[in-house]
Subunit: 398 residues, 2 copies
């Protein structure tokens, strides 16, 4: 008997295996130097220390560390996180303001569930983080891209959107060392954006995975630290400062919103792993994060410098790139006639890869960009790869 | 400036902190013997072995075990799971049919996302698992309860619902040692249900956390093992056979559906923790699960027996209960005039607690039941608690 496959939900049509993902499979070919990923440098992860930490947790706490636990998360870990946010990012949050999530991707997904009905508008940077777009697509919002320069969203454009777009539900920003652009919002722009958020009573999702990975310059206060109207939901993670494979992250939200997020978490997966939370909390007890982050910053700074050195001397005129003060990525802009996907095909012939920039815009017409990751590879590979990239760009531009 | 709080999504009105949860907070009072939880016996968790396993994983694999990994899950773990399902539950699945999830709760939540539009119908047992209802509420389905006896859903009633209800999207069942009733579907009912699912082309969600915890009798084939039409999505977990605090579970689905689930997982949290998957896979390499499960079965059987002994001799006439052949729960049915919530209030005066049965029905009018957990407490506490419970019931019934 011939059967039609059973029907799936309407929203599933918006979830597609991305074209980019298919392209990037090619970058796994042996010999390819790939700047396309977004992986931290694995050799920085404290594997040996984690053996000892796990022994300590399981010897001290025994089976409790393997049992179900509360949805909100481990109390010690929530305290550590609140204290660290307050010390490093100028916030004034309490442990009770924190929900532990399974990666910041989960915080993004929950944000979609809490806020977005079909047709609601999300205001985002230009470019913006592809993982947020993917997390929210199934909620069927409209993304409205706010023109953004090296200091953040342009306030006039943001105000224009807030004043004219119906049903604006969220403003989404990555204020520090943005993925993909590497850009950091100035203090003035942070303030201007929050003023507008307050005026229009629109929540702000501050996605902050990179703020502590600053190679130079002074830290700026988080949006959450400047928020006097309880409008900012802050997403933080241990994925870039510690170990991404633990899937341990958090969000800090005003009480009435946190309550909603907790209900969503309860239905989504009950709670983040008990053992992993005890491992991270105990690591923070014993080692803290400062030494680890200092080591990571040293290493990433050198890698960024090496990449910038090559690009600055070898890229042809008319091609520009950002010089991020932290994070994992830099952003190359080509003359407008260049299509990043075609350029990638050309680069793959020379065994070097990147992510074409168009993927980071919910709107069409931004194909002349490339995101390059500098965190993952040792400096000598970065140098070889960046030379290949620049050479391929020169050849492509003729 | 007085501000209204920002608007949340329409679906959030369906997510409420449950009345039951508030009630159950009272059960944490010192001195209360609570049969209300659903926790496995923590003393059975192999904490010492997990120290050694973690050392082995991190010494052998180093930082790879702490890095990002694929959405589908660890290949070794997926192979172990497929092999175990095939050996123990009669299925014929391959590693590629498996998606690793962060607890089966996540498999339920993803099922809502993949299948359910607002107003779609889910056919479920009577009673059914409260966590599934909670996972799906935000997708705004209608739950239609199929009359269910000790052998499973009544086929005539199921057919009636399939024939007359518009937009039936899913049939949801827990065929082995159901939470909350402790009941197990007969082979004939399994077959009858699948025949109807095929006839009406409706997917079946088989939630199977307890099947391997059988204290007596012969195992029955999983619905997935009897499925010849690729309609069954099987949810399995290590939470009851190993350690719930690891949040490590899986689903097995036909290829076209698995692809959808993987896209949902990608947006929801990228992947389940790398280290935790390597820990479980390595535990399975080194120790397997059979010895652990055999120990758990011994312990739970004794606890069930002790509870049943007391209830059989001390509950008054007119009160019946199930005698499950496995799992964690049994189900008490009172005369119809008894309200389980009122009875719980009375029981709390005598320092004993349970979950009132009404919570396990999406439809009203099933208040005269109680779910009792027998896995968590040692037999002597079970005996004391069951005596208190029976005494309170006698007093309540006058």
């Amino acid at each position: 008997m011939a059967q039609n496959r059973p029907a799936v939900a309407h929203r599933m049509q918006f979830l597609k295996s991305s074209e980019i993902r298919e392209l990037l499979k090619l970058t796994n070919r042996p010999g390819v130097i790939s700047f396309a990923g977004g992986l931290p440098a694995a050799e920085m992860f404290p594997a040996a220390e984690m053996i000892e930490i796990t022994r300590r947790v399981l010897e001290t706490e025994g089976c409790r560390a393997l049992q179900y636990s509360t949805t909100e998360g481990d109390p010690d870990l929530r305290r550590h996180i609140a204290a660290r946010m307050n010390a490093k990012q100028g916030t004034q949050v309490a442990a009770d303001d924190i929900l532990i999530t399974s990666g910041s991707q989960q915080g993004l997904e929950f944000t979609g569930k809490v806020f977005l009905d079909a047709g609601d508008v999300v205001l985002c940077e230009s470019p913006t983080y592809i993982g947020a777009i993917n997390a929210w697509l199934s909620y069927e919002p409209r993304f409205v891209v706010i023109p953004t320069d090296d200091e953040g969203m342009l306030p006039d454009a943001l105000e224009q959107a807030l004043a004219t777009q119906p049903r604006v539900k969220l403003i989404y920003a990555i204020p520090d060392f943005q993925n993909p652009s590497g850009r950091t919002w100035s203090l003035a722009r942070r303030r201007a954006m929050l003023d507008l958020a307050v005026r229009y009573n629109v929540p702000v999702i501050e996605d902050s995975p990179y703020a502590e990975l600053r190679f130079e310059g002074e830290p700026l206060p988080a949006l959450k630290a400047l928020d006097r109207a309880d409008l900012v939901v802050f997403l933080g993670t241990f994925s870039k400062t510690f170990c991404p494979g633990l899937r341990c992250a958090w969000l800090a939200a005003p009480n009435d919103l946190l309550r909603r997020y907790i209900m969503v978490k309860q239905g989504a997966d009950l709670h983040t792993g008990t053992l992993v939370q005890r491992q991270v909390a105990t690591y923070l007890d014993v080692h803290g994060l400062d030494a680890n982050i200092a080591r990571v910053i040293e290493v990433y700074r050198e890698r960024r410098d090496r990449m910038i050195e090559v690009l600055a001397t070898e890229l042809p005129a008319g091609v520009t790139f950002t010089r991020p003060h932290g994070g994992l990525f830099l952003w190359v802009t080509f003359p407008p006639q260049v299509n990043g996907r075609d350029l990638l095909a050309r680069c793959l012939e020379d065994d070097v890869a990147f992510v074409p920039g168009g993927a980071f815009f919910p709107d069409p017409g931004h194909e002349h960009h490339a995101r390059l990751n500098f965190s993952f590879m040792p400096p000598d590979r970065i140098e070889v790869g960046a030379r290949r990239f620049a050479k391929a760009v020169r050849a492509f531009l003729g």
